[in-house]
């Protein structure tokens, strides 16, 4: 399956190692990625908050680029996914808006038609490829306890996105289980990480993060697994800021799901990527195989942060 790949600004320029992990696993699941001259999705809380028309026009331009190539878009960031999906929903529902946007795109030699689907990596892995195929590729399970945070913009608006249940999401947990992790249930699982308000009021943003982190800390996971680069940064770097402001002591390793998938598939080069993480985790020895885990030959307990 060939996709127009939409890593999004945050992943591309602030979390390249996560992008790298997607590009590493993709060929193993018959995913071919094409890079196009996309702009920012654009981000709802900055661009859309200033001008709704600007937001929808830029989103339409991005989608139209993929349409011109006859490709569906594969997103990696929850925010981009939601922004593009919402714009698509609006354009497909309201012909007058579509026409207005197309008037502008005409000047760029583009047209939004509504022919390309917007698919997030989460959906491609869970809904299309499936748990069984993923498990079958695992050679080195990752037996750590994790909490998952699917991300607001993958879950809501549920009626438009249909990624997972907005109140009780389970799919990312199942994806984690498939590669040998133990997902833990925790309070505030569907709560926002706080990223959305960081640019307008950073103290509020970190207060929201503190609330979320407090609930996470209660179940003492080894790591947090996300499917969104913005949530990743909020958790990983944000926890230090929260600690500074509120005197808390959060120090959780954070992973973008495909990083762990690449580790479980034992793909080469992961060490370099993991070195970029600000909170390190000592993963179980790389020699361990699936068979060993099954027979319980090596009961590896990962170190807690």
């Amino acid at each position: 399956m060939k996709f127009a790949f939409f890593p999004g600004c945050t992943m591309a320029y602030r979390l390249p190692f996560a992008e790298k992990s997607i590009r590493m696993v993709a060929p193993h699941f018959d995913i071919e990625l094409v890079d196009l001259a996309f702009t920012c999705c654009p981000e709802p809380n900055t661009v859309r908050a200033l001008s709704d028309d600007t937001w929808i026009t830029f989103a339409a331009r991005n989608i139209a680029l993929a349409e011109a190539e006859g490709l569906d878009i594969l997103t990696a960031c929850a925010g981009c996914h939601e922004s593009l999906s919402l714009a698509k929903h609006e354009l497909d529902k309201k012909p007058e808006r579509k026409n207005k946007v197309n008037e502008l795109l005409k000047g760029l030699g583009l047209e939004y038609r509504g022919t390309s689907k917007i698919v997030h990596m989460h959906q491609q892995l869970f809904d299309e490829i499936g748990i069984e195929t993923i498990s079958s590729k695992v050679v080195k399970p990752v037996p750590i306890k994790v909490v998952t945070h699917t991300g607001c913009h993958l879950l809501r608006p549920e009626r438009i996105l249909h990624v997972d249940s907005a109140e009780v999401p389970v799919k990312l947990d199942m994806l984690c289980e498939a590669i040998g992790m133990v997902p833990l249930d925790y309070m505030d699982k569907t709560m926002c990480c706080g990223a959305g308000v960081r640019k307008t009021n950073s103290v509020t943003s970190y207060a929201v993060l503190r609330e979320k982190m407090t609930s996470i800390a209660m179940v003492e996971p080894d790591a947090i697994v996300v499917f969104c680069p913005t949530c990743f940064i909020t958790f990983e770097s944000g926890q230090r800021v929260a600690n500074r402001i509120f005197g808390t002591d959060f120090k959780f390793p954070v992973f973008y799901y495909t990083e762990l998938l690449a580790i479980a598939m034992n793909l080469p080069g992961m060490d370099i990527l993991l070195a970029e993480h600000r909170v390190k985790i000592e993963l179980p020895a790389s020699a361990e195989t699936k068979e060993e885990r099954k027979t319980g030959a090596k009961d590896s307990i990962p170190s807690s942060p």
Binding site: S165, V168, D185, M187, D188, S215, M218, V219
Partner: protein, 656 residues
């Protein structure tokens, strides 16, 4: 046919019609049409003087076709038909043009167009009136027996009223005992009198009444016929215990090795496979739940049969089909509680200490699973901090839009009882408190004074601390605009709303009853015919018609009983002659009409032609439109009449 002499009567309906439609223009447009003898108008044609004008005009002008332009025929067709009868004119020579609901009320913003539409409708009515034929109404006898479906407090009340008045009642209940939801409830609001203390004497009376045939574990399978003459097929599931022989000693249950979560106790405790739902059950007899029985052969178990001294248990009991004939039917199939797990953010079904109103009722009952103690299901300890969440499954576009009416008072009642018994800290989160009944507001105020805290605001989410099993409730005090987070909550009670019972849907299908968008049965008129269905002789009562408390339910039950009595007391009723008739000269005997008739009203006669049974025919017209040779016509709605109306409409528009 004698020469047609049509009178047209235009009703002002005060200013309802005259305020929009220009009646003078209307008059001028129709008075010179062929066959129109006279056009008159009056402020209220339905009034006594209005009817007199109608009658005098019929006499004076020797009219034999009447067109009345007024409100919907659903309102006054019976009134005008009666006027025609009184003056000696066949009542089916009347045609009503609805220029109120179809014209003035909906086109009030455009009087000119409204007047044009009214002219069209009246012209079309005149066209039809030219072809109307006098029809004879058949008189049918009404059987003096009533079928009541559902034996909760509504069915029980209606049954007793009818039986005491001397009518036979077949009371059908799908559960092993009568009593419905009220038998599971502990106390009633606002008086806090014991629910079963007031209900069980009525249940016993039903059980012993000579005019009541009680059929438990039974469901109505099929109903045929019409008002006064319903043929009902009832399917009764095997009980495996003879209710005449059973002494309810309980020996069978004592020896039964199976434990099953008990439905009656909201699954909070266990019962045996052979059991009695509750102590005061009527009929007072055990029932064997064969699905959960270990096996009746001696090898597997068979212990209860051995133990029963009265020889009441029979493993060979079979399902029975019972057929009865009744004149009237009352549907009182009650309600179900909203399935709270659908509101995922509240965690019902996931968090053990989140419960619903029904579960608390069983806990509060001294005969219930916890002997009257409200407990935390996670550890059976007494909760110190309790939160009620109102409007779960009510006033919510995502589940049910309507207000369930009873949950506010039920929650207040429960909170009051728990507060008085244990002194627990109780918070009630509400949107609006609806304390609409006699003494209800006073009860709420005294409950607040007793220390229960009421907070205005819908709860956003409930979280569980998996270690302590305690809960966190998040909300807003909307009167202060302040966030509220309650931690270490021991018990959350979701004030689950009510939804139409599955059984209601089933019976509606069997009886061809209409259902309103909320899923409850639709009454014939919300104000004036609140317990009548659209089908003559069939009444609705209680929660089956919509959410209501016990006093309203009993009031409706009594109203439905009196409606049934009024019909049966009279003993006879005229049936509208809207049935299909077959022209044997054109019938080919192909039997297609027989296959399409939804009421089994058509059969082949001894001459080999189709023949319609007027008593079964509902005049739906399916056979008429299916008949390839045009041999069937629907009386009062003939093809000729309908096409005359269409032609009349098109005649002023041809070429347009």
């Amino acid at each position: 046919m004698p020469e047609r002499r049509i009178g047209v009567f235009l009703c002002h309906c005060g200013s309802n019609i005259a305020g929009v439609v220009d009646l003078e223009v209307l008059r001028q447009a129709v008075e010179n049409l062929p066959d129109v003898e006279v056009v008159s108008d009056y402020k209220y044609v339905c009034s006594k003087p209005g009817q007199k004008i109608l009658k005098d005009s019929i006499k004076k002008h020797k009219l034999n076709g009447i067109v009345i332009a007024s409100c919907s025929p659903r309102m006054h067709e019976p009134t005008f038909r009666q006027a025609l009868r009184e003056i000696g004119l066949n009542p089916f020579l009347l045609e009503i043009a609805n220029i109120r609901e179809h014209v003035s009320w909906i086109h009030a913003d455009d009087p000119k167009a409204a007047t044009e539409k009214a002219i069209d409708l009246v012209r079309m009515a005149i066209a039809r009136a030219r072809l109307l034929e006098p029809l004879e109404e058949t008189e049918v006898t009404i059987k003096k027996a009533t079928l009541i479906v559902g034996a909760g407090i509504a069915g029980i009340s209606a049954a007793l009223d009818l039986a005491n008045a001397g009518f036979n009642v077949y009371l059908v209940e799908k559960e092993p005992s009568i009593g419905g939801k009220m038998s599971r409830w502990d106390k009633t609001f606002p008086t806090l009198d014991c629910s079963s203390c007031i209900l069980t004497p009525r249940m016993a009376e039903v059980g012993n009444h000579e005019n009541i045939t009680l059929l438990t574990m039974a469901e109505v399978e099929e109903v045929e016929g019409y008002v006064g003459n319903f043929k009902v097929k009832i399917r009764q599931n095997p009980r495996y215990v003879d209710i005449e022989k059973c002494t309810s000693c309980g020996d069978c249950s004592d020896i039964c090795p199976v434990d099953i979560p008990a439905e009656f106790d909201a699954f909070l405790t266990y019962r045996k496979a052979i059991y009695i739902p509750f102590a005061q059950a009527v009929p007072s007899a055990y029932v064997l739940d064969m699905d959960n029985c270990l096996g009746v052969e001696a090898v597997k178990c068979g212990k209860c049969e051995d133990k029963c001294e009265a020889k009441a248990i029979s493993y060979d009991d079979k399902e029975k089909i019972i057929e009865v004939e009744v004149g009237t039917i009352i549907v009182s199939t009650g309600f179900d509680l909203f399935e709270a797990s659908k509101k995922e953010e509240y965690g019902y079904g996931h968090f053990p200490n989140v419960v619903n109103l029904g579960e608390i009722e069983r806990m509060l009952s001294s005969a219930g699973p916890t002997r009257g103690h409200v407990v935390k299901p996670s550890n059976l300890k007494e909760p110190k901090k309790i939160v009620y969440v109102q409007c779960v499954g009510s006033r919510d576009e995502l589940s049910n839009k309507y207000c369930s009416r009873v949950c506010c008072m039920t929650a207040i009642k429960q909170a009051r009882m728990i507060r008085d018994k244990t002194g627990a800290t109780i918070y009630v989160f509400y949107i609006d408190l609806r304390t609409f009944g006699k003494g209800y507001e006073e009860f709420y105020e005294s409950t607040a004074a007793a220390g229960v805290t009421f907070i205005r605001g819908r709860v956003g989410e409930i979280l569980q601390n998996d270690e302590t099993m305690s809960l966190t409730v998040r909300g807003e005090d909307t009167l202060l605009g302040k966030p509220i987070q309650l931690d270490d909550v021991d018990l959350v009670v979701l004030s689950t709303g009510v939804v139409a019972a599955d059984a209601t849907n089933k019976i509606a299908h069997a009886l061809n009853l209409s259902i309103s968008p909320d899923g409850f049965l639709l009454e014939a008129h919300p104000k004036l015919r609140p317990v009548d269905s659209f089908n003559d002789g069939i009444f609705v009562a209680g929660m089956a018609q919509g959410p209501k408390d016990i006093p309203d339910t009993v009031a409706q039950a009594k109203a439905a009983a009196s409606g049934a009595m009024a019909l049966m007391g009279k003993g006879k009723i005229n049936v509208e002659p809207y049935y299909s008739v077959v022209d044997e000269d054109r019938c080919a005997g192909c039997q297609v009409c027989i296959s399409v008739c939804p009421y089994n009203a058509v059969a082949l006669n001894e001459r080999g032609y189709a023949e319609v049974n007027p008593a079964l025919c509902k005049g739906c017209g399916t056979c008429t439109s299916t008949c390839a040779s045009g041999a069937i016509s629907s009386q009062h709605y003939t093809d000729g009449q309908i096409s005359a109306m269409i032609q009349e409409y098109l005649s002023t528009r041809e070429g347009a």
